[in-house]
């Protein structure tokens, strides 16, 4: 009976510790970087979190210009300039969605299977005028 109690206690302890570890891992960013952009002043931070096996991009302290048809994209490059045109160039990109707002904290799902070792830059991109409002090279956290 005593042995059974010890076993149950150990199992409970192991479960709770692993649950705590899982939470801790979720909220630790895996990548982060700061946005730069001159033509349309863009500032703030981008961070990527692994939440329940899915990658989520979060913008914080974020500010850019408002504009038509602005999107958040990941590009397979080390950085991006204001005048880069990603619709015509053959730089691979992944669409994360239309920009939800030009100010404030916001989250975007990164499609499953996205290779973050290849897509190293987040860009705030105006598709109508092919203008990069801002770009943030990612660095491992």
């Amino acid at each position: 009976m005593g042995r059974l109690c010890t076993l149950a206690f150990t199992a409970t302890l192991a479960l709770s510790v692993s649950a705590m570890l899982a939470v801790a891992q979720d909220s630790k960013p895996i990548e982060t970087g700061t946005l730069h952009g001159q033509v349309h002043a863009t500032t703030g931070r981008v961070s990527i979190y692994k939440i329940k096996g899915r990658n989520v991009l979060r913008l914080t302290n974020f500010k850019t210009s408002n504009g038509p048809d602005v999107h958040v994209i990941l590009i397979a490059a080390d950085d991006a300039k204001d005048d880069d045109n990603f619709l015509k160039s053959n730089v691979e990109r992944i669409e994360l969605g239309p920009l939800k707002g030009n100010e404030g904290d916001q989250n975007y799902d990164i499609p499953a299977g996205t290779d973050l070792s290849k897509f190293r830059t987040v860009a705030i991109y105006c598709e109508r005028f092919n203008a990069t409002f801002g770009a943030a090279p990612l660095e491992k956290f």
Partner: protein
């Protein structure tokens, strides 16, 4: 031309109206003045101890220095500085100090750099993760650059400007 316009008043009005609407739709000039604010919650519990308040990566000055410096606010209000993936050169009397990013001494690639700095602690190791306690009244908006500084030769090994997370 003027006669044509006078003769086709309604047509001209319609064409100009369509043109104005098309240009407005294309450029959306009102967005220059109207902001769209969003405020989505973090995808995890708020005020999580795993969330840094500042972070930045090291850049080399005199010696190859790399890794990340992050500042965390503990539940008792104290500030911790963590160095991760850290690597610098070993040396005599090397300290972790806080400096101002605008200080020209930070970029100096020779000894004898007169750095305006606040002491954190002697560097414990030139490689590996390590944690230091920051003075609780430190102004990180001003002293915003974690610097690896050799006191003996007044040499900046490398520094990391930290920015709000």
């Amino acid at each position: 031309m003027r006669a044509f316009l006078r003769g086709h008043k309604i047509g001209t009005a319609v064409v100009s109206f369509v043109l104005v609407v098309a240009l407005w739709y294309l450029f959306r000039p009102e967005k220059l003045f109207i902001n769209k604010q969003v405020n989505e919650a973090a995808p995890f519990a708020q005020n999580d101890p795993d969330q840094p308040t500042y972070t930045g990566t090291f850049k080399a000055a005199i010696h190859e220095t790399s890794g990340r410096a992050s500042v965390y606010r503990n539940s008792n209000g104290s500030l911790s500085l963590k160095l991760t993936n850290f690597h610098t050169s070993n040396g005599p009397d090397v300290h972790v100090v806080l400096a101002k990013s605008s200080d020209p001494a930070l970029a100096k690639r020779s000894p004898g750099a007169a750095l305006d700095s606040l002491e954190v602690a002697p560097l414990r190791g030139n490689e590996g993760d390590q944690e230091y306690t920051l003075p609780s009244n430190v102004d990180l908006a001003q002293y915003n650059t974690v610097t690896i500084y050799c006191e003996r030769f007044h040499a900046v090994f490398g520094s990391a400007m930290i920015q709000p997370f």
